[in-house]
Symmetry: C2
Subunit: 194 residues, 2 copies
């Protein structure tokens, strides 16, 4: 069994697992289905993962780590104005959500299937990500770009963005960036949409 997530084989298996978990749900995805999708027999699966739970944890960990990296990167390379940072954060959020879609859908829907230890570990990652949001929201509040309670605003914004996985059509006319900008415009006083 591999301990690190780093093994390239394991990373590929994790990606496949994410896809199946989205299609069928975690509980309905059997180890035999996972194995078949991976082109191996069900027993061989446990060479890469201790148990089924660990596959779920690997999927969610991957997704959340990617989200953190992309968000930090976006914030680092953008303008330092509150508006620019707000736009960058919203765009980064949708970018991860919609490109790394499978992993995030799993994280949103199957979080409760994690056992206590995995949940504790992954909570830290998620908290780090949410802290980024609250930071950016704080700056927007300070500049009067948006109004309201910092906690509430960040929850509302993340809710609106996360909900997109339910209805957004990548084949449609709107790009994720446009979507993000529209949301920011909606909660921002100065912007206008003719």
């Amino acid at each position: 069994m591999n301990v690190m997530n780093a093994s390239p084989r394991r990373k590929e298996l994790t990606r496949l697992a994410a896809q199946l978990f989205v299609q069928e749900g975690f509980d309905r995805t059997t180890v035999r289905m996972l194995a078949q999708e991976m082109g191996i027999k069900s027993g061989s699966l446990f060479h890469h993962f201790r148990d089924k739970q660990e596959i779920l944890a690997a999927v969610i960990e991957e997704g959340t780590e990617n989200a953190l990296i992309i968000a930090r990167d976006a914030l680092a390379r953008c303008d330092s104005s509150a508006s620019a940072r707000l736009h960058a954060m919203a765009r980064a959020h949708l970018e991860t959500l919609l490109t790394d879609r499978n992993a995030h859908v799993v994280a949103l829907y199957e979080w409760r299937r994690l056992d206590t230890e995995a949940r504790a570990h992954l909570s830290h990652l998620r908290d780090a990500y949410e802290a980024l949001w609250e930071e950016v929201i704080d700056e927007a509040l300070a500049e009067g770009l948006v109004h309201g309670d910092r906690f509430l605003v960040s929850r509302f914004v993340m809710g609106a963005l996360n909900w997109t996985v339910r209805w957004y059509d990548p084949e449609g006319t709107r790009t994720p960036d446009e979507l993000a900008d529209e949301l920011v415009a909606m909660i921002t006083r100065s912007a206008s949409t003719p």
Copy 2:
């Protein structure tokens, strides 16, 4: 087996099932757990419901029907201004979401576990509800209360509201009505929060 949802016994069983589905998730809730919670044996369950799927459908149907009733009622009894109707709709949404919480959490999380027929039937109910929202949003757009695309705005608003089931604490200081008003204020140009 009862065909109608109307049997009082069945309604009570549905309520209990909703609670268990929230605690454990649909797939992890066994018919034996359901039966025990209901104070009967597992076999007796199938006198009330054709199969496990039908219990899930009953839970979601109940919740969605209630949401429709409450929303229509709220719209009927409120002022006819776009602002009043927007507030009423948001408040109604959170009221159902948080009082009939179990059923709605199940609807949000376990929708995909429904089979094709049940999903088709319940989709109509849900569409009727969402149509109410788009109507109210349309009026708000027409009066210049909010700006943007009708489709996008309604999705963003519903996302922000539905997301509350993940973090809202009924024991906390904020009432659902305050929450709803805060969200409306956030997307509304004229309001201000000192």
